[in-house]
Amino acid sequence: RDFLDRAPLDDYSDETYWTTEQDAVKFASRIYEFMPSADFFVCYEGMSDNAFSKTASWGNTLRNAQLIGNSTFVVTTGSLGDEWKYDQVRHCFEFLEQVDKVPDMNEDLKKRLVAEVKVALAYRYFMMTMLYRDVPLVMKVFTSVAESDVPKEDKAAVVAQVLQWLDEAAPDLLLTYAGDDRGRFTQGAALALKARVLLYNGRYPEAAAAAKSVMDLDAYALYPDYYNLFQMEGDYSSEDVISFIHVKETKPNGLRDIAGVNSVSGGTLYLNPLPSLVDDYESANGYYPFTGDPAYDPHAPYHNRDPRLGATVYYPGSILANNKKYDPINSPLDKIGGDKATYTGYAFRKIFDKTELEVRDNGGNDWKILRYAEVLLTYAEAANEATGPSAAVIAAIDEVRSRAHMPGVNETFAINGWTLNQSTLRTFIRHERRIELAGEGHRYFDILRWKIGQQVLQGPIYTLDASQGLADIDNTNGNTNKFPKTKLEDRYFNNDKFYVWPIPQSILDQARNLQQQPEWR
């Protein structure tokens, strides 16, 4: 060889790729790295009225969730481009364009991989349309820089393409996988994602049908224990439809730092549940608001509640994962407003891996991207919107509530004296959705699609209100069991422009044919 011919020594090059099936499998499997991990997606909680993310003085941790949550972000605020991911689009099309090069490839395997890649494409474009509305629809691998400067496409056209990919993918995917394929997109994944896309786009009859098609697969069932579903024992459960796989030693999640109570795992606790969420849980008997329950005790507001509250949130008096009592009023490490302590008086329990607490940042529990309970609630919401209350709608909601040991819809409506109609059921489904999916990042998208930002993301937010004193907190030895309701910050969702994210300035600067959203110009 020529003295000057020096090729890469520790990287494979394209010249020898696409020769075996394994080449195709490895290239396709990259799409699972594109799916949202726990640390990434949990940030959406801080952008919603479920949680407060005190991050403005902690660098950009949590994707600037505080600035998005209080609507003080500007077009140069970092992290607004986190979901604008055309590198993923390119990778997917590179696969679709190259996979035919592999000689003698098993046809079923090829079809399945193509289908998996289409689901990933669908997910990516779906997320972009949710946040940026109209986006460029890239459908190929650009070979020159010049041709890549393309304008935005209408959201409807992009969504149509998303649905087409999902429809094409579903039949070629397996219902379940075994061995090292566990975790790949299943047929149910494509259909459930389709249901979510349709629901989020207000196409209710189709959304209901898509959700129904998942239910009819008979492949999924709710996991019996709501709390443990989100622990490591709930990984690969009957309820998982799409998950991001975390492994304690090798691919841990950072939730124990992000949402961890300092005295348990040394967590930084960037993300704090808001009273707005905690107060939304019914009483154990279904009274809503919970203060309407005859058994309500202002000194024990967390007793006698929807069991999902205790499973989701650490509140004063909760027993922590290290079996100590959570005291955010007196504990030096956990005191409200203290450094690395809660700002609201609450912390998330649901997503926090309770095992091997001495290793601070290592959570091994998978992140539920889409689970069967959401499919049931999608069905309920879509069907109610399409045709109003029905036995099927109520059955779907009751399935979710009964796993949580909560009374059914009819019983709950009766106890609260509500009339069942499309409107009241809509309100109830929205409430049920918030409770069931709390801590999972979905609430922010619900706010965007229900257009309730001005109601729930505007005005002051507060700490817990323990001004009456909490029975579970020891008030002897100089301790107190009271804490006054204190304002944390003002939120400024005062304009419809906040329903769509601006295209980050740095992305606009790179292109000539891309225009900023009209509301952000």
Binding site: Y32, V75, G81, H91, S148, G179, D339, E489, D509, R512
Partner: protein
């Protein structure tokens, strides 16, 4: 220096009519610049001789003059001796003549100013034929010297001296170096050249200027020494700091680092023992660098290491210094009470309804001293750290061999506990003349540089910790255990118990040359160099425990413990062959050089790791767990190669009209389809001072005009294989198991080729009053085209663009250096000033959009510029906020007010403007030297007169990661302090910390880099101890810095842009040293 014998080849013109022989010989000595020794009778010396010679060799003239008188000349040990032709050849002793009265024997020794004995010096009794030369020890002996004789002591390159002997019989003569330095030789690419005949922009730094500085790395001694050579030390962590280095500013959008060549072979300054350096040449313009065309776009530093001297007795030198290091500036962090009050205040500034974090009772505990306020900087940093260096060398030579052996040891302790940087180095340099026309040399270096860092990883984070920790906390429990911090670890525990990180850097380099004289004017030289660098890197993360004040265990950190043991090897091989030809025809002098070189580098690394060691005492892989799940491995490799052909042609006429052309043709492995590049240059010089109209000027002693034009290249594209489409690998975790994934990692460009820089340079060198005053000035203009640029691409392209030959940029500047040197008196003194600047401008980005941002890449602007909001000040009142365009809904009095450039009533990115240059300008260096009898004093002042620096994070904002802040920030806006430097203090940093010129600091400075006072013990004292020289000195480095009052008190003005204050500060050192020679 040329030997006397070589000078006999020199051509001179001479015309005398019936002049006494001794006068004729003196004329020859003067014209040819040689000195002759003679053992000739006075009678013959008085013989009248006529000579008519035009441009004849000295040897020919001597033959013509001497042969009629039966005299001959011979060359012995590089001395030219004239004697009677009829004497037996073996009897070369100096003869005495009967005519001279016998009175006394005179002995003596001749030394240089530095005390080195000078062999081969001509010692002659004036107006007589009595003469001799000094021996290897610089000693001479003359018999039969008249009592009142005047001795003429002369040596080439030194000022001749006349000494009236009086009645002395022993003399000690000190010869001063000839300040004119007309014979000064400058190292240039693949050769040397007389400074007088240089036509390119080359500056030199003498080895002494580097060896005499207490800096571990050579690069830091170069700061302020030479105009156009910019050095900025942005981080001074022992053994791992970072220093910016460029020659003549920024000329590309890619990266064109300075090419460093050590004895002709590409190398690194960091691998050099400063004591081994003889000389550094800084090649600045294309005429000087084009011979290295390939990688010379950033300029070239040619380092020449020391060698022994033929025919000289062995000299053993011991040079050492030891002293203490202190930071120039350290962050001054607020105490607990200020911290608590400001925290509370900032909470209320964000949200008037907030419950302040710290109660008055709590604050009172710290105010009263009941609880300690901890200065975490003080717990992490020591006040002083030792630094010392020892160097021993032996050098000398015989007739056919010269040698130098040098051993060095450096020890630099860190200001952070457990940080230690050491360097053991050795060099053996031997040259031997095998036959008349065959010469072999070998220069071999071995260096072992172990570097320790405390508590695995802490060294990079010690400063982070100092900011993050709150002064309201403390490091130890009452029982003295490591106290937890916020339920986690803290730096004192990490430094002391967290394990270690060790590097062992083994550097080996051998450089062999073989020179063969094919014919009288033609020689061939071959050079082969092998360099290997092995770096061993070990990190041990020890398990340790943290407790609370009740002595309860809170956390077992770094559990399980783990070891990573990595090794990398880099092998670099260079082969160079050059053919040299010289021809002199009458007054035409032609030199030609042709050469070939090739260089390749291969790198490999391999690493292993294990976890779960039984305890913290074993630090070898086998001590870890047997369970293979606790094992890990890693490895990588890369290589590159470059091959070149080059040549140079020099022509001079009458030594005053100078022309030079050089070129290089380079091929690089980094390019595929367009691999080869051609880089020519031309230059010309005119020595006006040699012209008749100036030759006898009493004022102007030297004047030369130079001009050059040429092209150089740059191959520093991103990555070594930009032409290849590379498949990257990652991992996904299906079924809880890591599974390999692949992806295209780049966008290849097989048509990528060299970036080209065309440079024009005009310069003048001048000397006045016998060169007491010297002056050099250069102006240059450069244009870089086909810049290796990764252009901005639309995000929809989906990947970074390929590296492309895109864009054009201009760079221009000027350099001045001026000096004054007086050696005529007992008090000798000199000053040397250099001053320079460069400016650049982007001309074209190949049609791709400007890259906006805080440091934008914009056509028409310099490469480094600031772009952002223009700050108008701080809002004076809430009404002011209401009446202005605001940036954030939270804005209130005390926040930064930005200018609404487009007047649309809101602050948007459209309101961003250019806010000034982001790189330093107007650099200067001022060096001074004084000597009086045994004392010498040197200083170096260095500075940057124009600069704007942007700092981020801890350096400018409070409460980062819940941490503390510097005392500078106490000057933040309050209703009582409206003239504040810092805005309203908030917890929410998104309000005021968007980039605006409010955050640009004036970072100009002047610094006393070095101040040195030396004392050389007198000779008569040392002789009894058989010591030939002993000098003691005190040296202060970086002790005084003047900076703008606008710049934060906590930071060194050399801090880099974008730093958050976690860089290791510059060091000032106080050292004592000695130079000893036997």
């Amino acid at each position: 220096k040329k030997t006397e014998a070589q000078l006999l080849e020199k051509k001179i013109s001479l015309r005398t009519e019936k002049m006494p022989l001794y006068q004729v010989l003196a004329e020859i000595e003067h014209t040819a610049g040689i000195s002759l020794s003679y053992a000739v009778s006075q009678e013959l010396l008085d013989s009248k001789v006529s000579v008519h010679a035009r441009n004849r060799k000295v040897s020919d003239i001597l033959d013509r003059v001497l042969s009629p008188l039966s005299l001959v000349y011979l060359v012995a040990d590089d001395k030219v001796i004239i004697r009677h032709g009829d004497l037996p050849a073996a009897d070369s002793a100096i003869l005495a003549e009967a005519q001279v009265m016998v009175l006394k024997q005179l002995k003596g020794q001749v030394r240089s100013e530095k005390g080195d004995p000078l062999p081969g010096v001509s010692v002659r009794v004036k107006d007589s034929n009595l003469a001799t030369v000094t021996n290897e020890r610089g000693e001479f002996e003359l018999d039969n010297v008249p009592d009142d004789a005047v001795l003429v002591v002369s040596f080439i390159g030194f000022v001749s001296q006349e000494i009236t002997t009086g009645s002395q019989t022993e003399l000690s003569v000190v010869l001063l170096e000839d300040t004119k330095k007309l014979g000064e030789i400058v190292v240039i690419g693949y050769g040397t050249q007389q400074k007088a005949s240089l036509t390119s922009a080359v500056a030199t730094v003498k080895g002494a200027a580097i060896a005499e500085r207490p800096v571990p790395n050579v690069v830091n001694a170069l700061q302020g020494q030479v105009p156009g050579l910019f050095v900025q030390q942005t981080d001074a962590m022992p053994g791992a700091g970072s220093t910016k280095l460029n020659i003549r500013g920024i000329s590309t959008l890619s990266n064109n680092p300075v090419l460093v060549l050590v004895d002709g072979v590409a190398g690194q300054l960091s691998t050099l023992n400063p004591q081994d350096i003889d000389n550094i040449s800084v090649l600045k313009d294309a005429s000087a660098t084009a011979i290295y065309g390939a990688r010379a776009s950033g300029g070239v530093l040619l380092v020449t290491t020391k060698k022994g001297r033929k025919n000289s007795k062995p000299v053993l030198s011991y040079d050492a210094y030891a002293g203490t290091q202190q930071p120039t500036y350290l962050p001054r962090l607020v105490d607990a009470v200020s911290f608590m009050r400001k925290w509370n205040e900032s909470q209320l500034n964000d949200n008037p309804d907030a419950t302040p974090r710290f109660s008055e009772a709590n604050i009172e505990k710290y105010a009263s001293g009941e609880l300690p306020s901890t200065d975490w900087i003080g717990t992490i940093f020591k006040e002083n750290a030792l630094q010392m260096q020892h160097n021993i060398s032996v050098s000398g030579g015989s007739k056919n061999i010269d040698y130098l052996v040098s051993l060095g040891y450096l020890r630099q302790e860190g200001l952070v506990n457990g940080v230690l940087n050491q360097r053991y180095s050795s060099r053996i340099h031997v040259n031997t003349q095998i036959t008349d026309n065959l010469k072999f040399g070998i220069n071999t270096v071995y260096m072992n540089a172990p570097r320790n860092m405390a508590g695995a990883g802490i060294y990079t984070t010690a400063m982070h910790w100092a900011y993050i920790l709150n002064p309201t906390e403390w490091p130890y429990t009452p029982a003295g255990r490591n106290r937890h911090y916020r339920g986690g670890s803290q730096p004192v525990a990490i430094i002391n118990d967290g394990g270690f990180e060790h590097y062992k850097d083994n550097y080996f380099n051998t450089n062999m040359t073989l020179e063969y004289g094919i014919a009288k004017n033609l020689s061939l030289k071959g050079q082969y160099a092998y360099t290997s660098r092995d770096i061993r890197h070990k990190i041990f993360r020890a398990t340790y425990r943290l407790y609370d004040d009740e002595e309860n265990l809170v956390l077992t950190d770094q559990s399980p413990n783990s070891l990573n043991d990595d090794q990398s090897t880099e092998v670099n091989q260079t082969f160079i062959a050059t053919l040299n030809y010289g021809l002199q025809v009458k007054q035409h002098d032609i030199k030609a050089l042709a050469g070939f070189s090739q260089e390749s580098l291969e790198y490999e690394s391999l690493g292993a790791g294990r976890k779960d060691f039984l305890n913290n005492s074993i630090h070898v892989i086998d001590g870890g767990a047997a369970d293979k799940d606790q094992w890990s491995t890693s490895g990588g490799a890369y290589e590159w190669a470059i091959r070149s052909f080059f040549g140079r042609l020099n022509y001079s006429f009458k030594d005053r009209y100078l022309l030079e052309a050089s070129a290089r043709y380079d091929g690089s492995s980094r390019f595929r389809n367009k691999r080869w590049g051609f880089f020519p240059s031309f230059s010309a010089g005119w020595r006006l001072s040699e012209e008749h109209f100036l030759k006898y000027s009493g004022v102007i002693s030297n004047l030369k005009l130079r001009a050059s034009y040429g092209k150089v290249g740059n191959q520093n594209a991103t990555g070594l294989y930009p032409w290849a489409s590379i498949i990257g690998t990652g991992a996904t975790y299906l079924n809880d198991r890591a599974q390999t994934t692949t992806f295209y990692n780049n966008t290849p460009n097989p048509d990528l080729t060299w970036e080209e820089k065309t440079t024009g340079n005009i310069g003048v060198d001048a000397g006045f009053l016998d060169d007491k005053i010297s002056f050099t000035a250069d102006v240059f203009r450069e244009k870089t085209t086909g810049i290796l640029l990764t252009p901005s691409v639309p995000s929809t392209f989906g990947r970074a663009a390929p590296v492309m030959n895109l864009g054009r940029m201009r760079n221009w500047g000027w350099e001045i250096s001026a000096g004054y040197q007086n050696r005529d008196h007992l008090l000798k003194y000199g000053v040397q000033l250099n001053f320079y600047d460069a400016r650049n401008k982007i001309l074209d980005l190949g049609g791709t959009p400007d890259v906006l941002g805080t440091n934008p890449v914009m056509v028409g602007q310099p490469r480094w510029t600031w772009y952002g909001y223009k700050a108008l000040g701080l809002y004076t009142s809430d009404d002011d906020v209401k009446n202005s365009a605001t940036y954030k809904p939270q804005n209130k009095a005390g926040d930064i007010k930005y200018q609404d450039q487009n007047g649309d009533g809101q602050i948007t990115p459209a309101d961003r403007v250019i806010l000034g240059d982001a790189d330093p300008h107007l650099m200067l260096g001022l060096a001074g030297n004084f000597s009086y009898r045994q004392f010498d004093l040197n200083f170096l002042v260095q500075g940057v007169l124009k600069n704007k620096t942007y700092l981020t994070g801890y350096a400018v904002s409070p409460f980062n990661y819940g941490g503390t802040f510097t005392e500078d920030l106490l000057d933040s806006w309050t209703p009582d302090n409206k003239d504040a430097r810092y805005p309203l203090m908030r917890q929410d940093l998104s309000v005021n910390y968007e980039f605006s010129d409010w955050w640009l600091y004036d970072s100009k400075y002047l610094r006393l880099k070095n101040l040195q006072l030396g004392y050389t013990l007198p000779q008569n004292l040392l002789q009894r101890l058989k010591i030939s020289q002993l000098r003691l000195y005190v040296m202060l480095e970086n002790v005084l810095t003047l900076k703008s009052g606008n710049f934060p008190e906590s930071f060194d003005p050399e801090i880099d842009n974008w730093q958050s204050g976690v860089n290791f500060p510059q060091l000032k050192t106080y050292t004592l040293g000695l130079n000893l020679k036997f």
